[in-house]
């Protein structure tokens, strides 16, 4: 199990570093926007926008809205379950989870790249990072853009299924294009990447939201850019760290990067 141990160690070192970078970026780029959106979540709930325009049209509708408005104090975070205190504790958990998740993504990146022959240098690593970004951020983000709290969304489980399916199809499609080198398989690869978007992501019944469009747009950009930096850094660091573990990669000749 030498290879297993070395691969895990490589991923742990690279994931730790890239996770710290991501947490730092999030602290300045995404978390402030999440906190800003949460003010809409708590304030906008009881009114919920239904009141003004189509009132008389559906007399049945106010009832569920009102019953939901009554216990508005208990928002979806629930009083029953534990959650970190705002401030340092919340930041600490976000930091810790980012590091663990960085290691998780690094395990996937190391396993995939070793199966393909190994990353030979940091530059080639950045291309693996771009692939990770395309698979885990870009593709699912097309159908399910990053959401802020208080925004409407379709059923959670349906969205998770679509997310996982899109990630798997995009990864398989990219692998077919990059490593099979035949035109029909490349076309199949493109088809696999496109397929989830033809099926379409589960969408909410209405996109009406108390969160201003401008804030959401800012958030989508912030999430996409921070994830891009994370993935490119992760790939590059794996390329660097891997060298320290001696093994000469076998694909210098057929390198596509």
């Amino acid at each position: 199990m030498n290879l297993f141990r070395n691969a895990v160690f490589t991923a742990a070192a690279a994931g730790l570093l890239a996770g710290l970078i991501l947490a730092a970026l999030q602290t300045f780029a995404t978390v402030p926007l999440i906190l800003q959106a949460e003010t809409f979540e708590n304030a906008g709930e009881p009114a919920h926008d239904h009141g003004a325009a189509p009132t008389e049209a559906t007399p049945a509708e106010p009832t569920p809205a009102e019953s939901a408005a009554a216990p508005a104090e208990s928002d979806h975070h629930g009083d029953e379950a534990w959650g970190p205190e705002d401030g340092f504790e919340r930041f600490a958990y976000t930091l810790a989870i980012n590091v663990v998740s960085g290691i998780g993504f690094a395990l996937l990146l190391v396993a995939a790249s070793e199966l393909a022959g190994g990353i030979s240098n940091w530059r080639q690593g950045t291309f693996w990072g771009f692939a990770g970004f395309a698979i885990f951020t870009l593709a699912p983000g097309l159908g399910l853009p990053p959401e802020l709290p208080a925004m409407p969304a379709a059923d959670l489980f349906a969205r998770q299924v679509w997310w996982v399916g899109t990630v798997a199809a995009t990864a398989a499609g990219l692998a077919l294009i990059a490593f099979r080198g035949s035109a029909p398989l490349s076309i199949l690869g493109v088809a696999l990447i496109v397929l989830p978007h033809i099926i379409g992501a589960p969408q909410p019944e209405t996109h009406e939201s108390p969160v201003p469009d401008g804030l959401h747009h800012q958030f989508v950009v912030a999430v996409t850019v921070t994830n891009l930096i994370f993935w490119v850094a992760l790939g590059g660091i794996v390329g660097l760290v891997r060298q320290r573990f001696l093994g000469q990669s076998e694909n210098l000749g057929k390198s596509f990067a």
């Binding site: 290879l3 297993f4 070395n6 975070h77 629930g78 534990w82 996937l108 969304a153």
Partner: protein, 59 residues
Amino acid sequence: MNAATISLGATVSSGSRAAQLGLVALLGLFVVGFLGFSHMEVVHNAGHDYRHSMAFPCH
């Protein structure tokens, strides 16, 4: 690809190589899946800002 290959400093047969890398990938899937997809309220609350910032389906 039947020949033994040298990777990450270890010489291993290609079968064992694939199995070990498969385990690495499984471990990664488990970590990412648990952090991003667990329906446990406590995991959701602890990772709330992380999940939003990674665009995982949330709420």
